[in-house]
């Protein structure tokens, strides 16, 4: 009887595991089927390196380079803001803060993670946009940089919590060994603790970036939505995710435009997949 129960539970878990993989594969094929259909009419080169995205032109243009650069700039900006801040925060929580403050800060970070992205977009639109506009004397405050700031706030909780985990799980004996040699607390942090936690730190950064690339709502509200080739981070851009979200509703099922958005999704899928792969490799990095 007990054996049977064990067997059923075991098989159920196994089945669930397979179901997860099955759905991922299914999604991939669905995406690939419609995405690859685009290349019956458009060359891969024109798609990846074309500098114009204009689906309603005659003939329609499906060059994703401006969208890719839009995503790239926003992500780069968000990374440049969130990684130093998140890292400092994680080190402070994991190593420096007294216990009561540690709990308080961790709760604060979790709270930040709980804010829906639409709310961050809203706050960004009413406060951040005008600020960016005034500081840099721009015609509009809805730029890649504005999106970067908002996305940085979404990436920070991910970065902080994973990094803090990595830092806290560095064996105490390393820290003691270092201090016992007369190193200061700060020397111990940057010469022993950070290197020892480096794989977790890289993973945290990668997952933070993954979160930023996939984000849609806030960037749609904040980046100005101009699908032109950006030259600086202070110009309006349009990201790949925002393009799909904005245009999916107006395409005709089975049209070239429709396939182009799927192909864009495929590119996005590939990028996040690679980033997760790097994060995974960092986490499981074997020592020589």
């Amino acid at each position: 009887m007990r054996r049977l129960k064990e067997l059923i539970i075991e098989k159920t878990i196994l089945l669930n595991g397979f179901a997860c993989i099955f759905f991922v594969v299914l999604i991939f094929f669905f995406l690939a089927k419609d995405g690859l259909a685009l290349f019956r009419t458009i060359s891969i080169r024109d798609f990846l390196f074309g500098q114009l995205w204009n689906p309603i032109a005659e003939p329609p243009q499906f060059g994703i380079l401006p969208l890719f650069l839009g995503s790239f700039l926003v992500t780069l900006g968000a990374t440049a803001i969130s990684v130093p801040l998140g890292m400092a925060c994680a080190i402070f929580i994991g190593e420096i803060a007294p216990r009561w403050m540690r709990e308080l800060l961790k709760a604060g970070v979790e709270l930040l993670a709980a804010i829906p992205s639409i709310v961050i977009g809203f706050v960004g639109m009413t406060m951040l946009g005008p600020m960016v506009k005034n500081i840099f004397h721009l015609p509009t405050g809805l730029t890649a940089l504005t999106g970067s700031f908002a996305l940085a706030f979404m990436a920070i909780p991910t970065i902080v919590s994973i990094m803090e985990d990595a830092i806290s799980s560095v064996p105490r004996s390393y820290k003691e060994g270092s201090l016992a040699l007369g190193a200061t607390h700060w020397q111990t942090i940057y010469r022993v603790i950070i290197p020892a936690a480096s794989s977790g730190i890289v993973a945290a950064i990668m997952l933070g970036i993954g979160r930023v690339i996939g984000e849609t709502m806030a960037v749609m509200m904040l980046t100005g939505n101009a699908s032109v080739m950006p030259r600086t981070i202070l110009e309006p851009v349009r990201t790949m995710t925002a393009t799909i979200a904005a245009e999916m509703g107006e395409t005709v099922h089975g049209s070239e435009h429709y396939f182009a958005l799927f192909a864009l999704g495929l590119v996005l899928f590939a990028i996040t997949f690679i980033i997760n792969l790097i994060a995974d490799a960092a986490l499981h990095r074997k020592r020589k």
């Binding site: 216990r99 064996p171 004996s173 390393y174 003691e176 060994g177 270092s178 201090l179 016992a180 040699l181 007369g182 190193a183 200061t184 020397q187 010469r191 022993v192 290197p195 020892a196 020592r287 020589k288």
Partner: protein, 250 residues
């Protein structure tokens, strides 16, 4: 003059008193062993000598610890200087997750030595001192955690030697090692004794008898007996010491 001297030293972990009025005087260039049943306060006493207890929340220390006549719990104490001077070897070998070279260069680097040639010299001297140079001289970039446990513990000692301490504290340095490796580390201790004052905590009575010149027996936070190792082991003054040594408890 005594190298290390404690006066009426007490230590509290919160409300729990782990050391009770300890007075001990430790002589230079000798091996002093601290013995006693587990949980009696040996590690705690050892860790008061380089102030590693400061890392633990809620620790309170009263009394004095004098090293070369200076109270290390005084206000002017520079912890960095103190720990350079009073090094520590831990129970489990704890090399950093770095290469052999970087492990040994760690201390000198943190104390401001940057020139590669100078560091190379220090690494060679330190490894020679712990008899690892011949085995490892071509493998200085090996990841330290891949060495055998005995080699790791030697490396930790070399790492210490590289900062030229005066005093070496060892907290059960052989408890993770097999008897053969233990013997090798003990030989090394005799070698080190020529240059350093060594205080070793051990629950291995044979080890204390083999290596130490002086021995202190601790029970429930008190230093019950302290004297020449031979006297403590063969002719203890206190009844509790005798009971412990003859194996009635502990």
């Amino acid at each position: 003059m005594n190298k290390i001297e404690t006066r009426d030293l007490s230590l509290f972990y919160g409300a729990f008193q782990a050391l009770i009025g300890v007075d001990i005087a430790i002589t230079e260039k000798m091996i002093t062993a601290l013995i006693g049943p587990s949980g009696c306060g040996k590690s705690t006493l050892l860790r008061t000598l380089n102030r590693m207890n400061d890392l633990i929340d809620g620790v309170r220390v009263t009394g004095n610890v004098l090293i070369d006549g200076k109270d290390i719990y005084g206000e002017k104490t520079d912890l960095v200087e103190l720990r350079k001077k009073v090094g520590m070897v831990f129970q489990r070998p704890n090399p950093f997750p770095l290469s052999v070279f970087d492990n040994i260069a760690y201390g000198p680097r943190t104390h401001g030595i940057k020139r590669q040639s100078e560091l190379e010299g220090i690494v060679e001297t330190a490894l020679t001192h712990v008899e690892l140079w011949d085995t490892l001289k071509d493998k200085l970039d090996r990841f330290a955690l891949n060495l055998s446990l005995e080699q790791q513990q030697r490396l930790c000692i070399a790492r210490l030697v590289a900062v030229t301490p005066d005093i070496v504290l060892m907290d059960e340095p052989c408890s993770a090692l097999d008897p053969f490796a233990t013997g090798k580390i003990e030989e090394l201790m005799f070698e080190l004794k020529k240059a350093y004052t060594i205080v070793i905590v051990t629950h291995n009575m044979q080890q204390a008898a083999r290596v130490s010149d002086r021995a202190g027996f601790i029970l429930l936070g008190r230093l019950v007996e302290y004297g020449e190792t031979r006297q403590v082991f063969t002719n203890p003054r206190e009844k509790q010491t005798e009971e412990y040594i003859t194996g009635r408890f502990g």
